[in-house]
């Protein structure tokens, strides 16, 4: 088997608020021997604001990124759920609608490239690298750690666009967590919305929705929540203290990026996974579960 290698689209969050997601992704790929080369001069995917305001702008930003990706060989690896969603949407819409494709080609002044496979990290770990191989690469299994895998709204939806897993009952993240030795719990709010962008404009909405997510994970007996989206992470981690205040409760649930936990299991030292950037500190949990 030739070594796996990907062109890497980190997206803006991973260069800023979610730098620990970027850091841990690079560490995981390096320790698994998977190549990861950042696409030079990549631009923002436009995220939620762009497609809410101007579809052409949103499609053109993703088309531009797909064009830039032509510089680096390999399928495109994406970590952020929102970037992943936008790129997949662009491929889906531009593949079906010739009129829009022509408009976009005019906007980016280049042909639209739709052939490149855009893959989320989960797909790469499960389908390309393989769960069995991942399990054998584990040096420090996360045994004893009970995790709630949180998909949020974007990772699997809508049907027929991301094609990552079953839309309403996915298991792909649980498969990865179990392969690295963690226990997963069935819980009710795996696919509910955290409030997303309303974190800036209407925080009470986010408090209510994220509270439901935290409450459900806690009730299900999880020690922590694993996410694959910087925005979910922000709402559940940064706002957790505030939510506990508003709803007069206490969760104390560390919120991890999936690559942070996979990295730990692969034996990457804690300080190289950006764990110190988490607001809800995982240190007590690590001590209790004898994870270092």
């Amino acid at each position: 088997m030739t070594a796996l290698s990907y062109s890497y689209y980190p997206g803006c969050s991973l260069h800023a608020s979610a730098s620990e997601y970027d850091l841990s992704t690079r560490e995981v790929f390096a320790s698994l021997g998977i190549g990861l080369e950042e696409i030079p001069d990549w631009i923002c995917c436009g995220a939620t604001p762009a497609h809410n305001v101007d579809e052409l702008l949103s499609l053109s930003l993703s088309a531009k990124n797909l064009e830039l990706a032509e510089q680096v060989p390999g399928d495109m690896a994406v970590a952020c759920a929102s970037c992943f969603s936008r790129l997949k949407f662009a491929q889906h819409i531009l593949g079906e609608n010739e009129t829009k494709r022509k408009l976009v080609e005019k906007a980016i002044d280049a042909p639209v490239h739709l052939e490149r496979r855009v893959k989320h990290l989960l797909e790469i770990l499960v389908r390309d690298y393989g769960l069995e191989q991942l399990a054998t690469a584990v040096k420090k299994p996360l045994s004893g750690l009970t995790v709630a895998c949180y998909y949020g709204c974007l990772l699997t939806r809508p049907t027929d666009v991301p094609n990552l897993d079953c839309t309403e009952a996915p298991t792909i993240m649980e498969q990865v967590m179990e392969a690295v030795g963690a226990q997963t719990v069935p819980w009710t709010h795996r696919l509910e919305c955290c409030g997303a962008n309303f974190t800036l404009s209407r925080p009470p909405v986010v408090q209510q929705l994220s509270n439901a997510v935290l409450e459900s994970a806690k009730t299900a007996g999880a020690d922590c929540i694993v996410v694959a989206c910087p925005l979910c992470h922000g709402n559940l981690d940064i706002r957790q203290k505030e939510i506990e205040g508003v709803y007069e409760t206490s969760y104390g649930l560390p919120i991890f990026y999936l690559t942070q936990l996979v990295g730990l299991a692969l034996g990457v030292p804690q300080e190289r996974l950006g764990l110190d950037a988490l607001i809800v500190s995982p240190q007590k949990l690590f001590r209790d579960k004898k994870i270092n």
Partner: protein
């Protein structure tokens, strides 16, 4: 010298909208061999057919080409008309300028050119048509009905009452099907058992009906009027002739905890069992997978208890051959099991509803058993988890149906009505309970149906919420139903005690395999296809096979019974004649060229090719050649395409004719 008449139909506007029919007629008139060409608005109507007949006499026509719709639609119509005017019907051909031309093209000029070419090809082909005599075959006046639900029972009784023999084959140990499981039926709320069981008894007692239960179709040979059916009668382990139906064996059986599938696994049964007390025949069967005797060789309690000595552990499957002339397929439906997801299937399942994990999330049929007087709770509404009476029940419609995303786009047709019925039955039994229904649309067209549905809302206080449910989850002993109410644009959360899912109606498992044995077609969901959606709704495209009930598409009881009687009437029409006329479009072997390789025999899907010995005058064997049995040949032409020495030809489609058609292009 041919004198061909060409008749171009407008098909109302279906053809003339895109094809310049006058131009086609003008061009056809110039084709070599054509003596007359004309266009008309509706060629299949009475004046249209008269136009054809009169032209044959007036212009002394020798052949006819009708340029209109598909031959599947009206070939028979025009051949009959031609015959009435004194021509051999097989000197008439149809040029399909509707399905193959006007319906699929937009450019009028190009479509007209294409129509002219199609007509030209058929003119060349018809010139070389031979006069063919109609083939007659004998009819076995005995019918096979596959499936003993209400559809099969009705069809069997109708045919038997008309004086013909019927063989009824049922896969389960008893006839009755799903209707025997129902509590009360819409729109009149009469008890299903009370209207169903007498019919079951009629079947058992009818002198013209041979009943094979616990049996399956093994093999189907032959053709219309002359089928040979091999039925596998599975080993019941109980001698049907000796058993008196006393039931002592069942009371003695030590295996008492087997989930009873007739009760949707709510209740239990023994290893030797009848599925329900009113079963027909009232003869138990041993479930060999769960029987201690078959598993460990030690037990035999039932055999010792059986007075007449009917229990027979040594019984083997039996193969019975039944000659029949017609087949009614009425294999019915099953409910979509939303938790079971088969790999590679486009049907995606509903993991988010927790069916199969949360005990109080049940499907519609399970609710029927809960509400049924003969059910495991004696008709009391008790939820499966703890037997408590549910005070808040949420019914969810369209689970699986009408969702392209989830893989089934059709409407299951019966759920709107049975859910309305469920809310009423619930309200009648739990006066202080509240029923909620999540629905997309109420589809209740049918006699007294809308009134029934409105009664559920207006008199029986069911709360209908227009919207879908996204998720169900257990919270304590409640089930949280997360849904939306789109008429007011809000999200709804209900904490329910019981949730009932109106899951989609699907064909029975294995419906595709049976279709392959019968040689009938089915759609992507495995529903059997009728020959024509509007004009031949109970016939299969395969001659002599008819459809009844939900195996053809979701159907309620009134529709099923109507279709079953219609299928029976079709069978009686077939049996009304002693001989059956068949189309003589069959293959013929040129014996001089045949080398006896029998490549044709290997490819023939109908088993129509036989071996024939050619002898000289002294009786010495000269050679063995292929022979096509015209009674069996379906005229598919596979043998013609296969024959290496070009010694088989299909009448109407000879190589000479095909080449002539190509040259006309």
């Amino acid at each position: 010298m041919s004198r061909i008449g060409v008749f171009i139909c407008h098909c109302g506007e279906n053809i003339s909208r895109t094809v310049d029919v006058e131009q086609v007629a003008a061009q056809a008139a110039l084709m070599p061999g054509v003596a007359f060409a004309v266009d008309y608005k509706y060629m299949c109507s009475d004046p249209g057919q008269n136009l054809v007949k009169n032209a044959i006499t007036e212009h002394r026509l020798t052949h006819v080409v009708v340029a209109a719709c598909s031959p599947r639609m009206h070939e028979r119509t025009f051949r009959k008309a031609v015959e009435q005017a004194g021509l051999n019907p097989f000197l008439c051909e149809m040029a399909n300028i509707r399905e193959h031309c006007s319906w699929v093209h937009e450019d009028r000029e190009e479509a007209t050119d294409k129509a002219i070419e199609i007509v030209g090809m058929l003119v060349e082909r018809v010139k070389k048509n031979r006069v063919l005599p109609t083939i007659t075959v004998p009819v076995t006046k005995r019918a096979l009905v596959i499936g003993g639900g209400i559809a099969g029972i009705q069809a069997a009784l109708d045919i038997a009452d008309a004086g013909h023999q019927v063989v009824l084959v049922e896969r389960e140990p008893s006839i009755g099907g799903h209707m025997a499981q129902l509590s009360e039926t819409f729109p009149t709320l009469d008890c299903s058992q009370c209207i169903m069981t007498p019919k079951m008894v009629d079947v058992a007692n009818h002198p013209n009906i041979t009943l094979h239960t616990y049996s399956e179709i093994e093999q189907v040979d032959g053709y219309i009027g002359n089928f040979q059916i091999t039925v596998r009668k599975k080993a019941r382990s109980v001698d049907e002739h000796k058993c008196t139906g006393c039931g002592v064996c069942m009371t003695k059986c030590p295996q008492k905890k087997i989930p009873n599938s007739f009760d949707c696994n709510l209740g239990t049964r023994t290893a030797i069992y009848v599925p329900f007390p009113q079963a027909v025949p009232n003869v138990p069967v041993i479930d060999r997978e769960n029987c201690t005797m078959f598993k460990s060789g030690k037990c035999g309690v039932c055999q010792k208890a059986c007075g007449p000595g009917a229990v027979d552990f040594e019984q083997q499957d039996q193969l019975i051959v039944e000659p029949v002339g017609a087949i009614v397929v009425s294999t019915g439906f099953e409910l979509y099991r939303i938790t079971e997801k088969t790999k590679g299937s486009p049907i995606k399942g509903y993991g988010e509803f927790g069916h199969g994990k949360i005990p109080d999330v049940i499907d519609g049929m399970t609710f029927e058993r809960l509400a049924s007087a003969s059910g495991p709770t004696g008709g009391k509404i008790q939820r499966p988890s703890d037997g408590k009476e549910p005070k808040q029940v949420v019914f969810i419609q369209c689970v699986g149906s009408r969702s392209r995303e989830k893989g089934i786009s059709y409407c299951s047709k019966v759920c709107c009505m049975y859910t309305a019925k469920h809310t009423m039955l619930y309200h009648h039994k739990v006066h202080d309970g509240q029923a909620y229904v999540f629905f997309m649309d109420a589809r209740v067209p049918g006699k007294s149906y809308d009134e029934f549905w409105r009664r559920a809302i207006e008199d029986e206080e069911a709360v209908y919420i227009r919207g879908m449910v996204s998720r169900l989850y257990q919270k304590g002993d409640k089930i949280v139903v997360m849904g939306s109410d789109i008429s007011v644009g809000v999200q709804v959360e209900i904490e329910a005690d019981l949730v009932v899912l109106a899951t989609a109606v699907q064909p029975q498992k294995g419906a595709d395999l049976l279709a392959q044995k019968l040689g009938i077609s089915y759609d992507k969901y495995n529903f059997y296809s009728e020959a024509h959606a509007k004009l031949r709704p109970v016939e299969c495209a395969t001659a002599g096979i008819y459809l009844a009930g939900a195996c053809q598409g979701p159907k309620d009881i009134p529709d099923t019974v109507s279709q079953a009687s219609a299928a029976a009437a079709k069978v009686m029409t077939l049996f009304a004649k002693d001989k059956l006329e068949r189309e003589p479009i069959v293959a013929r072997v040129k014996e001089s060229g045949c080398v006896g390789c029998f490549a044709c025999k290997k490819v023939c899907a109908y088993g129509a090719i036989e071996e024939k010995e050619i002898r000289d005058r002294q009786g010495n064997l000269v050679k063995v050649v292929a022979y096509v049995n015209p009674g069996v040949c379906a005229g598919c032409g596979t043998c013609q395409a296969t024959c290496p020495s070009k010694s088989v030809e299909l009448d109407g489609y000879t190589d000479e004719q095909i080449v002539a058609m190509i040259e006309a292009l």
